[in-house]
């Protein structure tokens, strides 16, 4: 079970265990990490599960597909390492991955 670390905008860190094949968004919501409302439940329809993948871990995630990119354009304070966490599927390689949360999802 890979462990992921979510760091809130205020610096609070949450270590979360995720299942292989589960989305990073779901691992976070299952563990009640605050700041990820994920309104649409993972359908890539709402852009409220925005995270920043820590630069050291960017090589472990696949590039965003075009629809995710389109949605991210409207995420709050998009950066180069912005991803919708519902589109990141947990793999063994992600064990230890660090994700940062934006100040807001809206």
């Amino acid at each position: 079970m890979p462990t992921l670390t979510f760091i809130e905008h205020n610096g609070t860190a949450h270590q979360v265990k995720g299942d292989i094949g589960q989305s990073v968004m779901q691992a976070a919501t299952f563990a009640s990490v605050p700041g990820i409302p994920a309104d649409c439940g993972g359908a890539c329809s709402c852009a409220t599960c925005h995270t920043y993948v820590d630069d050291a871990w960017l090589s472990k995630v696949q590039a965003a597909e075009s629809m995710e990119n389109d949605m991210l354009e409207y995420a709050f304070e998009r950066r180069d390492n912005s991803r919708l966490s519902c589109q990141l599927i947990i793999s063994e390689e992600m064990d230890g991955m660090v994700l940062h949360l934006p100040a807001s999802q809206f």
Partner: protein, 411 residues
Amino acid sequence: MTLASVVIVGAGQAGFQVATSLRQEGYEGRITLIGDEPGLPYQRPPLSKAYLLGKIQDTNLLFRPADFYTAQRIDLLHDQVTAIDRQNRRVVLASGDAINYDHLVLATGAHNRPLPVPGAELPQVFGIKTKADADALAPLAKAARNVVVIGAGFIGLEFAAVAAALGANVHVLELAERPMARAVSREMSELFRQAHEQWGVHFDFREGLSRIDGDNGKVCAVQTADGRALPADLVVFGIGVIPNAQLATEAGLAIENGIKVDANLLTSDPRISALGDVANFPCLQNDEKHTRLESVQNAVDQARAVAARLMGKPAPYGALPWFWTDQGDLKLQIAGLSNGYDSTVVLGSAADKQLSVLCFRNDRLVAVESCNRMGDHMAARKILSRAPRLTAAEASAEGFDLKAWEAANRD
């Protein structure tokens, strides 16, 4: 006002979200969430699409794992509420228990409008509402050779796309003259009709059914209203829903196309709220006419509004409605309500399966339908949530780009 006990009837998207949002807002009292389905609260949208295709496992349908409810002190009861005793402020359960409330939240949802024809009781005839429906349907969908879908709305078409992808012959009967006629513009309907036909789906518009024939208790054919027999081993219908308002009716609450609520989502009893699919509310985007919306967005945003009000932060509900449906490789997203639109401007190309239809009423943008143009959808949500409004003339200009317009017209 301190509430010692909030009771929520219905553990779907709306009920779950009220419980969760109450805790997020810092509510310390008792929360009882009563659902009549087994298991933990789950999301329904994947049931008619990804879940049937096996792309989502059942644990991934859950909103939260079991320990969440314990940690958040949300008492999840699997029971049926049989009566609301408003005088004594309690709900009576089928198990015989009664639970007191200081505030009651009705999130009872809706059930599928039944198929009113002989043969609808055969075991291979399905509506899709619950996980149990989808679990029973999934193996039949994989094995089916001839599928007849009744109703070309979101659910019917989502299932038609699934069945076609699973290799079945799919025939859709629809009373209207085009798919999703109540929900989207003619232009968008046409894109979806063509796409489904490319996937092998056959449509009969302006056509109903008279009965479903069985052979030894198994579906074998659907008889159309005009007298044809369509071979079928599986029938799935999606012909609308009926709000679950019986409890509220029996309790004497104001009823009108569901449970009638005010702008604060309160029923005619100020100690009872109603929200989600069952609630008929004065809708800002529909000229404040009472409107009932069946969507995830509506359930989630209304739940947040109810929780905020119960925590002393009342505000009239006015969130922008938005919707989505996934069919094959098409993602349709709708922002706003297009009711009564009188003109459209089309962006993109149906041939490329990338189309946005801007719907105007009296030259005011009221809704944007987007297929595989998610940037347009997100831009539309921003534009529709605030002034200034976009005019049809501006949108019709050569090379108009909705996202660029949105970026240029922020505040």
